[in-house]
């Protein structure tokens, strides 16, 4: 029997990360690894520190202590907050992506859909207009937006469409790591369903690694391979999604799982 293969090195290594805004508010003692092709869910109730952690991971908020180390596409390991400002920005622009809960926070509303998609490419040096436009058209189809609307402004799109535009905007530079903050929050269920299907297929086609904050355990079950359960700034339990949901060990996880309504 042949031993299965696993990724030897993590794509993202987080060690001893603390970022506190008060007693047990924020995140502390955060340790985890993320490997290529994995979707890691961070679940927990409001105020558990999920978004704080995501903000530290995205390079936006320096933690009080600890390390966030990323394996870059050129093969070296970059300590996100020890690196130079320009290196960090380059990583955030090309190899990382962040999909915000409210798409209006992640889009540039004053420019067209096509310009939104092209922006990250331009930031890393692409200047050829028709190439940018082709990429824009291609991505709009991939996220199931009508390419005819490439020159329309995001304001004219519905919430679900704006979210898909945000995803296209982020994925255009083929990031290896995408951070998502409640990507389906606030959307109607049928819109949510389409978006979940889209995320699911993109993750598998592009072998994306994702860290996804969600309070919705059904979304976690559908999209995430592994979960981190947070309560009052700390990780209380971690493991494979189906194990956490089917055999929760910690009292808080048991409470979360038993609180979910099934229609």
């Amino acid at each position: 029997m042949k031993i299965p293969s696993v990724e030897a090195e993590p794509l993202l290594h987080v060690e001893g990360v603390n970022k506190l805004y008060g007693i047990n508010r924020g995140c502390q003692e955060i340790d985890f690894n993320l490997y290529a092709g994995e979707v890691l869910g961070i679940v927990g109730e409001s105020g558990s520190g999920k978004s704080t952690l995501l903000n530290c991971l995205s390079g936006d908020v320096p933690p009080d202590c600890g390390q966030i180390v990323v394996a870059s596409s050129v093969g070296d390991k970059v300590d996100l907050y020890q690196a130079s400002e320009s290196r960090r920005r380059l990583l955030m622009r090309s190899e990382f992506g962040i999909v915000k809960q409210n798409p209006r926070d992640g889009l540039r509303l004053q420019v067209s859909a096509g310009a939104n998609i092209g922006e990250r490419l331009m930031a890393i040096g692409e200047r050829h207009y028709s190439r940018l436009r082709d990429v824009g058209i291609d991505w709009m189809s991939q996220v199931e937006l009508d390419p005819e609307r490439i020159d329309d402004f995001p304001e004219t799109f519905s919430g679900g469409m704006q979210q898909r535009l945000q995803i296209a905007r982020v994925l255009v530079t083929q990031p290896r790591l995408v951070l998502m903050d409640e990507p389906t929050g606030g959307l109607d269920v049928s819109v949510q369903a389409k978006l979940l299907d889209l995320i699911r297929s993109l993750v598998s086609e592009l072998n994306l690694s994702v860290v996804m904050v969600t309070h919705d355990l059904a979304v976690a079950r559908l999209l995430c391979h592994r979960l981190i359960v947070m309560k009052k700034s700390r990780i209380v339990e971690t493991g494979l999604t189906d194990q956490i949901l089917d055999d929760p060990q910690h009292s808080y996880t048991q409470l979360l799982v038993s609180s979910v309504l099934t229609p």
Binding site: I3, P4, V6, R226, T238, L240, Q243, D246, Q249
Partner: protein, 230 residues
Amino acid sequence: MTTRVTITNLHKRFLMHLQGAVQLSVLSGLSLTMKAGQCTVLAGPSGMGKSSLLKCLYGNYVITQGHIYLHFDQGDIDIATCEPRWIHSLRTQTIGYVSQFLRIVPRVPAIDIVMEPLINQGVDASIAKEKAAILLQRLHIPQSLWQLSPTTFSGGEQQRINIARGFIADFPVLLLDEPTASLDANNRLVVVELIQEAKQRGAALMGIFHDEEVRDCVADVIIDLSEYAA
């Protein structure tokens, strides 16, 4: 005969924090081996821990105490202590599982569900599709249903999708939880055939079968779990 799996002194307990910290002990000191080409059948009345044992083997349940060793050419992996990403890899490449109930991902066509284990192994989609089609035909699922999501299928049809998905990739270790429960006689026969074929290619199987006829056809070893009840 090669031993594929060794279970040593396995204990499984549930601690229900929300119900006054009640402890429920399901398995107590179980030891057994699974050999290539053999089917180990778990017997015993309902509630003895049969499904729980399969779930421990699949990494779905946390193991309270003890070890489950998988023996590879390159060494052993202990499911009780390995990292979750190893379990994930094992499920992709080594251990197949036919669960009692099909958990349906909405909007995914039946044939895609069946193809998935091969796609996850990196097999070309067209080859995976061909193999899925062959299995679905063997299990008497009409072609008109292949592009539909199993949400509206009958229990027996859902179970056959589950079975096709479990048998499509040639896993060296295969876990079967009541695979014939909702099936008619014709389809039960197909499952027996699939099990014999798996044995012939050297897979080690563990199964729960309430159907005595099927059990008698496939069992090489029968373990009565009531001996390991807490």
